[in-house]
């Protein structure tokens, strides 16, 4: 067996940095899209008209029961036939956003369902609008209740962005493939790439813990 040689890989550090940034960007873009879908979808699933609820249920089932890779391919290769031309990064952000959105709806809905109706009633009795009750009474404690599930799903999204390499989006895993093709140092390349993913996840976990402490400061009931 060849001895390990990381030297060659560091020569491609620009690619690594660029890939890492794109992985981060892709994750954040998909998370943003997905969270918006999650909030709107969860609210609509709870109180929207029946056809809307069915449509959303169909979307959730479709996304959760088919391979993400195929979803990605559909967005990238099929949508252009309908006039929606996307570059690989945009396509990946949308496909992963739709994927994250389906899980977000379920998570956020579970959070909303965990808030007793008496809380909403108390808001109504103070003359708040439905939106004000949702935004100020229901949402904060609901989000706290599902924050661990939500951040866990975010981590899965981050790791899942590696799929985007399959449509040549230039994220971290794609950078890995490129460096490997130049150096033939598969083990070293993927060890480094893995290490970067691991470090990113750890950094986000620390960040989420800090954000959670700041955002959810109130003591929980006795």
């Amino acid at each position: 067996m060849q001895s390990l040689n990381f030297q060659q890989i560091w020569r491609y550090q620009d690619h690594l940095i660029d890939g890492t940034l794109h992985t981060l960007l892709l994750t954040l873009a998909a998370a943003l899209i997905g969270t918006a879908i999650g909030l709107a979808g969860a609210a609509a699933v709870r109180s929207g008209p029946r056809p809307v609820r069915w449509t959303i249920r169909g979307y959730i089932e479709l996304i959760r029961n088919t391979p993400s890779l195929i979803q990605l391919f559909i967005v990238f290769f099929v949508l252009p036939n309908f006039g929606l031309r996307l570059n690989s990064f945009e396509a990946a952000a949308i496909a992963l956003g739709l994927y994250f959105g389906a899980y977000s709806i379920e998570i956020i809905r579970a959070g909303l369902d965990s808030i007793p109706g008496s809380q909403m009633e108390a808001g109504q009795c103070l003359g708040l609008t439905r939106w004000q009750v949702f935004r100020h009474v229901v949402l904060p404690p609901a989000l706290r209740n599902v924050y661990p599930a939500f951040t866990g799903q975010f981590v899965l999204l981050l790791l899942g962005t590696s799929l985007a390499s399959q449509i040549s989006a230039e994220e971290l895993f794609h950078a890995g493939g490129f460096i490997e093709s130049r150096t033939y140092r598969s083990f070293e390349v993927y060890a480094v790439i893995c290490g970067i993913y691991f470090a990113l996840v750890m950094a986000f976990k620390l960040l989420f813990a800090a954000v959670g402490r700041l955002a959810f400061r109130w003591p929980v009931g006795r």
Partner: protein
């Protein structure tokens, strides 16, 4: 004109008739206490008064306006009718101050500074000014219930509804809540309350209403009603709560 005029109101859940032709007047400044067995319709009647429940027949007038779940200006109406529940229903994620000022800041366009002053003012009336920055989970049940009352007071209500507000409290905490309600009564607040505290009903109420199976079975001043119950139902009810 009575402040609250309930005219022949009926309401059913499915085939169960929960209110069956209830009529009741509450004049300004009156303290009306509703008593009766569990399931007799007391809470339902209270919830109909601020349009939390739809009525199937009859009419409820508050300050001369017909109360409906689809009435115009329902939200403004709700601001004038405070309701306090057995379970406090404070918002756990907001401090006492924010619990009190959430609605006024959002809908009455007062500033946060004015809000703090308002919160202090109503908290003083329930004896909890020092808890303004506490969260609900840091308060005892009695304190939480007094904050819930203060939160209603901050809306400047013309009428207060209380549904068994002391029933969830440890016995030693009941007194502090009743005292707040007595003070409000003395200051002329119109109140309709459901309670099992017969002593309180006796001393504070201007009128007692005895409900039985969705109907007002007897009503009158407390001394009279308790001394001479006319119906066997009230007689056995009084015997059961003694």
């Amino acid at each position: 004109m009575p402040l609250v005029d309930i005219r022949n109101v009926s309401k059913s859940y499915g085939s169960a008739r929960v209110l069956d032709g209830v009529s009741l007047e509450v004049n300004e400044g009156e303290i009306v206490t509703i008593i009766g067995k569990s399931g007799s319709g007391k809470s339902t009647l209270l919830r109909c008064i601020n349009a939390l429940e739809r009525i199937d027949g009859g009419e409820i007038l508050v300050e001369g306006r017909s109360v409906r779940t689809d009435m115009p200006k329902l939200r403004e109406f709700r601001q004038r009718v405070g309701i306090v529940f057995q379970a406090f229903n404070l918002f756990p994620h907001l401090t006492v101050e924010r619990n009190i000022t959430l609605a006024p800041v959002l809908n009455k366009r007062i500033t946060r500074g004015q809000g703090r002053a308002l919160a202090l003012d109503v908290l003083e009336r329930v004896g909890l000014a020092d808890k303004i920055d506490a969260y609900p989970a840091q308060l005892s049940g009695g304190q939480q219930q007094r904050v819930a009352i203060a939160r209603c007071l901050a809306m400047g209500p013309h009428l207060m509804l209380f549904d068994e507000v002391t029933s969830a409290l440890d016995p030693e905490l009941v007194g502090e809540v009743l005292k707040v309600m007595e003070d409000m009564a003395r200051q002329g607040m119109t109140m309709v309350l459901v309670t099992h505290e017969m002593g309180f009903a006796r001393t504070v109420a201007s009128k007692i209403v005895f409900m039985h199976r969705g109907r007002v079975r007897e009503e009158g001043p407390p001394a009279e009603l308790f001394a001479n119950p006319r119906t066997p139902e009230l007689r056995s009810f009084i015997a059961s709560v003694r």
